[in-house]
């Protein structure tokens, strides 16, 4: 049986205590949220932190709220809470799609949105969604708060721009007003598993069904998920027809350069990109009301 190296365990009751601990221990400390990525890595001894700061008692980090411009999601919000949220269903359907497709019910009861984003596995399912929804990530440390765009936060495989004394506090999803639809689709290695490719799209149309905004983000590729501007441009500014969607998905699969690994070849991933972009665009358009 694998067992982690021993460590010191802290479970602060208030946020300030957690920030003090992070300030004191910096790189020696690891934040423990749901543990569904950190604990496997500690068991395999890929990671052996000296101090583990368990933030599960910080219930003030668990919420889904709205203000005029954003849906604000606390970092400690569990995957199952994301998928059951009516607010997110209304404003960020792609995020709900992603939560539904993460692992299984038990993992979703523990795993958190903050942990998933901070872990920054290039194939993690929320990553293309935060890119496509142009989410902002709010961090906090004893020095203050910072607001980062999703593409500034995600740096590369298992790497973010979070500083050692910082905690991710909140994910802010801008409310896009008007006729908007978003969706997320993935092709997992097998059911309930990590994605070979995942795709999130958002489409906004006007009253004449002309596309005003289109965002396409693809994950499961190295070094990190990306927006595909060239494909987005094909869709914007017109009343989209099937051939445009096929054209956009072709551009996405040709622009990106997915890796080959033990799970799938680069060619296979390219084919998945084309299919998933096409299907996700269709679904987002349908949700925006373009097909009625």
């Amino acid at each position: 049986m694998y067992y982690p190296k021993n460590f010191e365990y802290e479970s602060p009751n208030i946020l300030k205590e957690a920030l003090d601990l992070l300030e004191k221990y910096q790189q020696d400390a690891k934040v423990l949220a749901g543990g569904q990525s950190l604990i496997p890595l500690m068991k395999l001894r890929v990671l052996s932190p000296k101090i583990v700061i368990d933030i599960n008692k910080l219930s003030e980090l668990s919420y889904i709220k709205e203000d005029d411009n954003y849906i604000n999601i606390g970092a400690l919000t569990r995957h199952n809470e994301v998928l059951e949220s009516e607010l997110l269903s209304r404003y960020a359907k792609a995020l709900v799609d992603a939560a539904k497709n993460i692992a299984d019910h038990a993992i979703r009861n523990m795993g958190t949105i903050g942990g998933n984003v901070c872990h920054s596995d290039p194939a993690a399912d929320y990553l293309p969604v935060v890119l496509a929804l142009e989410a902002l990530l709010l961090t906090i440390s004893n020095k203050g708060k910072r607001t980062l765009k999703a593409d500034e936060f995600l740096m590369g495989p298992f790497e973010t721009s979070l500083l050692p004394d910082e905690l991710l506090l909140e994910i802010k999803i801008p409310k896009v007003k008007g006729r908007v639809g978003s969706s997320f689709l993935k092709f997992p290695y097998h059911q309930g598993d990590i994605s070979l490719i995942n795709v999130a799209t958002l489409v906004k149309i006007d009253e004449n069904k002309v596309v005003k905004d289109c965002r396409i983000a693809v994950g499961g590729i190295l070094p990190k998920p990306e927006r595909v501007k060239g494909a987005e441009d094909v869709i914007v500014g017109k009343k989209v027809e099937d051939k445009d969607i096929v054209e956009a998905s072709k551009i996405a699969s040709e622009t990106l350069n997915p890796q080959s690994d033990w799970m799938a070849s680069s060619e296979y991933r390219r084919a998945l990109i084309a299919t998933l972009v096409e299907n996700s665009l269709n679904l987002s358009l349908e949700r925006a009301g373009a097909r009625i």
Partner: protein
Amino acid sequence: MKVNGVLVEEEVEPRMLLSDFLREKVDALSVNVSCGVGRCGSCSVILNGKLVKSCLIFAAMANEGHIVTVEGLAKDGELHAIQKGFWENHALQCGFCTSGFLMATYSLLKKNLTPSEEEIREFLKGNLCRCTGYTNIIDAIKYASETLTGIPKDKLKEAFRW
């Protein structure tokens, strides 16, 4: 913490996993560890009302929590309807995965007493069985669902007391 309603107090190393704590300190030997990385579901237990995989939780994280294992299902020497369902439908062979399936079923039926086959399959996605081919397990859950649907309200409350 409380395990199946009984208070347990122990001091453990921070790295002790909840699954090992339950087996070694509480003698809850229904909790089986197989894959150790959260994929197979044989270590599934209920923590504070929610289904979790105990091999991916440190015991310290469950401090002051309430845990339910298969040991907490039967009452007064009588098997729980879910256990009877598995018994009557031959829903196990080697039995190693069974505890996890029982706890997952408990969690499913508590939320949704009459799940469709599709809902059953979706909910049990995180539990693997290498003997049965799942057909009898699905039958067992339907059997439990039917049995429990027919019983009086107070008995039903009793069956899902945790």
